[in-house]
Amino acid sequence: MIGLLSIAIFLPTVLAAPTYLLGRKNAKVAKVMGVGTTLVVFAISILILVVFQYGQPGFQLSESAPWAASFGLNYKVGVDGISLPLLMIATFLSLLSAAGSWDQITFKHAEYYALFLIFETGIIGVFTSLNLILFYLFWEIVLIPMFFFIGIWGGPRRRYASIKFLIFTYSGSAVMLFGFLALYAWTGTSAYPGGPSFDYDVLAARIPSLALPLQLVVAITTFVGFAVKLPIFPLHTWLPDAHVEAPAPVSVLLAGLLLKMGGYGLIRYNLLLFPKAVTVLWPYFTTIGLITMIYGASVALVAKDIKRMIALTSVNHMGYVLLGAFTATVAGVSGAVFQMFSHGLAVGMLFLMSGYIHDHTGTRNIDELKGLRGKMPQTVTLLFLASMAAMAVPGFANFISEYLVIQGALSVSYLFAIAIVAPALTVGYFLWMLRRVAMTPGVGPRNELRLHSILILVAFLVPLLIFGVYPPPVLGSVITPTVEKWVGTIVALGAR
């Protein structure tokens, strides 16, 4: 019996082939099939929301099937309160990004949408798989379409950006894979009945009895892999290049989803699997998170290209995820998960908008965008709203998530009060950007976005505002129960 999750994972890839073959002759067919498939997958994810039992901490809608039993591999997927919000933004952002690509991708439509659908399979798979090798498989599937997206449809420095992206993330994954394999080998000895396994639940049960040095090795190596994707401070240099050179809808995927893979991996595999290692490592990891937050914000302050600025916001905002996750408190971890959800939407909206602005004005340079209000008044209003979301103004979901992260951090140590510098800097660079772009007197003839583009942008705002004003449907009934359960386990093991 094939369940909803498997359909959501594999439907896009199954339809990728007809999309390519039929779309080769007629670009419109490729567009319709691409957007249509993402719409269907979004509908399936809504169905998952309906079937999901709220308030339950465990994995739901689980499916498992034999895959390569001779090597301890099984196909196993499921969602819990941590993966469900990410699954939802994966399908939602894929839909909006596919719709945004309608205008912004201008050639090779068949190839683009086929790769897009393969990407969607990968990203949904990452957030739902419960087997380490399956997870790695989807993790890498995401990489290849992204490489082509940047390299073929990207900006002037696309070749450099694409190969840099590929080498950075692939090397990071290789180190991460070492952690997975070591875990398999070290928990596969005769001391553990049942034979070696890559199964998430089996490993979660076995790891507490694994010696601490071995746990540390695995925790650090997997951290490297996730940290490259997140990205953290010294390993982030691929990000500005990739985000700036990628076409805007792909930047939505990069910032909105690809970075979340790192955050999700950190929480699901690093934090939850290695409670004992976390007791040793959390001061380092949270410090790195703090540095990443402040560094990202400071560099964004001096960015001249609006897209580069948005890209660096991501570095800034993903630092919160790292900080929140490794406080290992209910507030911090819930905040980190919620931050991934809300940041995905806010930054996705900003990136898509930067693409539209570039298409309509021919530039992304903040200084040259002066007087945008005259040309695109509605877009400027939306830019204001999206910036407010990214600045974490109360009323937007981002406020709640960042508040939770900082609350969690402060409950651990008052030294984390320094974290408050980051939101202050964030507000600084956004307001400065808005002052230059939007608050200058309008010049030039009106050149507004078409209605459907405006609607796509507004669609990003809806969940941000709804869950910003009333977060319980996401936070209280989905994220927190699961986080409470896992944090409870961690606390019981003496992590804090």
């Binding site: 694409s162 190969i163 394999l181």
Partner: protein, 486 residues
């Protein structure tokens, strides 16, 4: 009935001898002549009988020094697939050559040598197989006799290869001196009780074996001939050397070390571990610096040999499933498919563009879309991206290494994984050239159907093994078990 297990060997021998004279016959006006078809027929008969034997024969059959067990059949299957791909691609590549008869005859006889190598349990037979494999390949490398590059390549290859044969003979004679036998089983039992006085000679024999096999396996520092030979030889013969001869040398090394020398209780594992790390690192770093496609393939094949060598660096107990060894065999299979296909793609490019420098690959996706797509898939497979076949064999190899009782096992695996990550830089670079760079010449190039057939077959196999690896993992596990049991 037992004689039936010799069918693959007999088929290759008979058709191999028939192919050369068949080269003089031709159908009416056909340019091709009969030789290639005799060759393909022989290979297909051998492959079908190998597969059939693999499914039906439950217990291994021995004919003196020749042992037909699952290990032999596994290598025989891999090498025959390589030979079939090479032969089919050569149909196109050698189309204009007047001497097709000897070419295909030699190809078959060399394949026979390789299979004998995989099945030999006696060092003398092993040497016979070794020479039967090597001598035809010298001639095949020098097949373009008016081409100085081809001659230079063959000369280099011949000198080093002859040296390796000599070293192996020396090693065999030392082992015979110590144990009084050339059969591997007898050697194992004699070595397990060998006194300390013969130890130095035994160690010397091991070193000589490592060097002798190492030349053919192309491990650093005995790899120098590989890039020149692959570049100078006809490209399809490059595939035959890279995927066929090299893997056969691994088969021989597996037999000799795991059946025979294991009993000697000498730590050859750390030697192999060091050689493996050096080999993969040198291969990967050098590959990044290449300007020619075939040389890049040559260095990438050196790096891949480093991964396979990890199987010999992983000690195992007979009670355990030898995961590293099974992974090594799995990588032999995957590497053979991927590398043959990569060389066939190179053949397609050289046939049409007549150059192989990497600059000519720029924008190739617009000129030769099918070739480019298959190169991309093959390279991702070689880099070990899931869900392609190379991923699972690497995972098994590396996990096996972590399982190793030596505490350096984990470092070896980490070094291999870092190498694997690094290798993406040149594999990705080629993909970048093909897909992202602008071609100097936009014209579409017709892609020969025969090459495309091989490339598509390899691409489909790559995906099929990668998506559902279970039966293949079972196969290599039983092949590894058969080797350990022999």
């Amino acid at each position: 009935m037992a004689l039936l297990s010799l069918t693959p060997f007999l088929s290759l021998a008979v058709f191999g001898l028939l192919a050369t004279p068949a080269g003089f016959l031709r159908f009416r006006n056909s340019k091709l002549g009969l030789a290639p078809f005799v060759c393909i027929l022989g290979l297909v008969v051998a492959l079908v009988s190998t597969v059939w034997l693999g499914f039906t024969s439950s217990s291994p059959v021995s004919f003196g020094g020749l042992r037909v067990d699952l290990f032999t059949l596994f290598f025989s299957g891999v090498l025959l697939i390589v030979a079939i791909f090479v032969t089919v691609a050569s149909l196109q590549y050698m189309r204009e050559d007047p001497n097709k008869g000897p070419f295909f005859g030699l190809l078959l006889l060399s394949t026979l040598g390789m299979i004998v190598l995989a099945g030999s349990m006696d060092l003398v037979l092993l040497y016979v197989g070794w020479e039967l494999m090597s001598i035809p390949t010298y001639a095949l490398t020098a097949f373009r006799k008016n081409d100085p590059n081809s001659n230079e390549a063959a000369m280099k290859f011949f000198v080093l290869s002859a040296l390796s044969s000599a070293l192996i003979v020396y090693a065999i004679s030392l082992v015979f001196g110590i144990t009084g036998s050339t059969g591997l089983t007898a050697i194992a039992s004699a070595l397990s009780t060998a006194g300390p006085d013969v130890r130095p000679f035994g160690v010397l024999a091991i070193v000589l074996f490592i060097v002798g096999f190492g030349v053919k396996m192309a491990v650093v520092p005995f790899h120098m001939w590989i890039p020149d030979a692959f570049e100078g030889a006809p490209v399809t013969i490059g595939a035959f050397l890279a995927a066929g001869a090299k893997m056969a040398a691994f088969a021989a090394a597996f037999r000799v070390f795991i059946v025979g020398i294991l009993a000697f209780n000498v730590d050859f594992y750390s030697t192999f571990a060091i050689v493996a790390v050096v080999t993969m690192t040198v291969g990967n770093v050098a590959a990044l610096m290449q300007k020619s496609f075939t040389r890049l393939l040559a260095y990438s094949s050196i790096a891949q040999a480093g991964y396979i060598l990890m199987a010999l660096a992983t000690p195992f107990t007979t009670t355990n499933v030898p995961l590293g060894l099974a992974g090594g065999l799995f990588h032999v299979l995957n590497y053979a498919i991927l590398k043959t296909a990569a060389f066939v793609a190179a053949a397609a490019i050289t046939t049409k563009l007549s150059v192989t420098d990497l600059d000519s690959l720029n924008g190739l996706s617009r000129r030769m879309p099918q070739t480019s797509l298959s190169i991309a898939v093959i390279f991702l497979g070689l880099a070990g991206v899931p869900p392609l076949n190379g991923f699972f064999s690497k995972v098994m190899l590396f996990t096996g290494s972590i399982y190793s009782p030596y505490n350096w096992g984990g470092y070896l695996a980490l070094a291999a994984l870092v190498n694997s990550g690094f290798s993406m830089s040149y594999y990705g670079w080629v993909i970048k050239r093909m897909y992202f760079d602008e071609p100097a010449d936009q014209s579409r190039i017709p892609e020969p159907r025969i090459y495309m057939a091989v490339l598509w077959a390899a691409t489909i196999l790559t995906f099929a093994i990668g998506l559902y690896p279970d039966p293949w993992i079972r196969l290599v596990q039983s092949a590894a078990a058969a080797l350990v049991a022999s």
